[in-house]
Assembly symmetry: D2
Homo-oligomer: 185 residues x 4
């Protein structure tokens, strides 16, 4: 048995909340608004890190970092992720597999047409949620994300994320739909 | 459409948490530790109220209050409640129906052998949680409940509750297992 | 108390599954794959119905039907819906309110620039899921939706839906991100 | 990353259900009625196995089996379990820790007064659910359990269980309240 997970859980001596119930052990599986903010902050930081590692260490370093990001921040460990990246289209629109997601971020996979979204030299990340829903261990967000490249050009995308808190206490992206703003022209 | 529910929901302008996302509307279906404490406090208060109403207004007043408690604090509105009352036994051990629960609290139903647990003149209520689990809209608690009657006699029971937060934002008991402490004699 | 909900719930005499437990009453809050399919089928049917009602009864009939669809198939009754319609952009990209959604489908609201997406004479609807996730009362889908107008022209969109089964047993859309396929040109 | 979990998940090619969506990958975290039945069957089988191992291999073999049962069938891996065993009382009524549960089943721990409930030579197990609730990855059951010892004596208990399906796809007991039937005498 992996009892080491125990310490990673939200085991709280809820002495302040339960005045009549000192020392009650609490186990809480729910995702919180603070978890959502942390995950949204982390996503942008990770994207910029891959870009930075690409500059400093080339494609190998960028790919290693991208793998770390996918391992830790995306839910491919439990099954298919619902991922529609901004610039994906055609037969490779949906990246439900780890391989498809990695290809999107750093390219280099002949099965996917990507040049590597994370290699575009991103330097700044901002987001603005239009709405957030929290439902058990799952949180859904929708809003705008603004990415700035090394030339100062800002790309704004419409972004939907689903974040799920796993039994290991880690929050991972299980849904990610990103699209360029609609233009009538 | 019942849009009046809207105001009852936890619609929060999450301006403090989402520094990058001013004005995000948040909808949170999860039950919280504070919800659990409020529900546990309310249960004892309701039991004492039925006893008090019995003294002041007889069985009719007590029954009316018990109905209110069951309507508001138990989940019979959505289906069967898993209810094993302290003193129930035999063929009527489990009170999965509203009628069975009402009979347990105030008696008067020939289909059940109850004299009315809530008519015993309870004056004081305390609880001590041994543990709490929170899982989405459902919270589980286990611990001791101490009830004092009008003669000062204290009855201690082993108590398990399941509380569920409904779409109306109200927290209701969906599971309730109460038993007298085991005695080797 | 609204006990009429009782009959609408999935109360099942689980006599076949529980061989040792005849007559166990079962209450199941979970959404199923069959619920998802029914909701996805219903969405397209509703869109075509609004178009059809527009042809036969003008904007008034179309608007009345659109209101019914929003009341029954979208989750605005409980709070903000995360809705990014295909052709919405700028300051009105996200339609988290009922008014914003209605405007998108049938227009006629000076606060929104929409001409009415459901008035485009849609005649056929198909979808192809790339993936489905089921998590408690919430289901997430991602895939392609193909809509055919009265001239036979097909519009293909990238579509993400979140469906939530409420306490009333009804499945409603709580998340809807729709976008035109990315084009490199 | 533990990608080996992938194959253990309920990854289903939902080709039959989604006629319009061939090849959609489905990930379903929900617990089912069939999961509940399997877990209830397994609990009794495990108890009888410990008794059998005690007869054939003494306390060491029984303890080894009890550890396996607790590791696989109880949720101590993620945090405190809400466990009130049938014959526990006083300061050790609630066994929220692994050590407390192990002591209850096989004794031998000076911190707990138990002689070992699973060492009583159980030979037969039956259960009869009064009700079942399913809520996401959590299922709650309440009903009677009948245990027969080697002398043919039947012990009937009032039993409440909470079963949770983890990210590893395994169903574990996270709540267990067992009590002897109330007797007016």
């Amino acid at each position: 048995m992996n009892r080491s997970l125990f310490s990673a859980r939200q085991l709280v001596i809820a002495s302040t909340l339960f005045s009549s119930s000192l020392l009650a052990a609490e186990l809480n599986h729910n995702i919180t608004a603070a978890d959502v903010k942390a995950a949204q902050d982390a996503w942008g930081k990770a994207l910029i890190q891959i870009s930075s590692d690409h500059r400093s260490g080339g494609i190998e370093k960028a790919t290693a970092t991208a793998r770390q990001v996918l391992d830790q921040a995306y839910g491919y460990n439990l099954g298919p992720v619902l991922f529609k990246p901004t610039l994906a289209s055609g037969d490779t629109t949906f990246r439900t597999t780890y391989a498809g997601a990695l290809a999107y971020f750093v390219g280099g996979n002949p099965q996917f047409p990507d040049k590597g979204f994370a290699l575009k030299g991103w330097t700044k990340y901002e987001y603005k949620n239009a709405g957030v829903q929290i439902n058990g261990d799952l949180a859904l967000t929708m809003g705008h994300v603004m990415l700035t490249d090394q030339d100062g050009k800002v790309t704004k995308v419409d972004k939907t994320w689903g974040f799920r808190k796993g039994d290991d206490g880690k929050v991972r992206i299980v849904l990610h739909h990103s699209s360029l703003p609609y233009s009538a022209n």
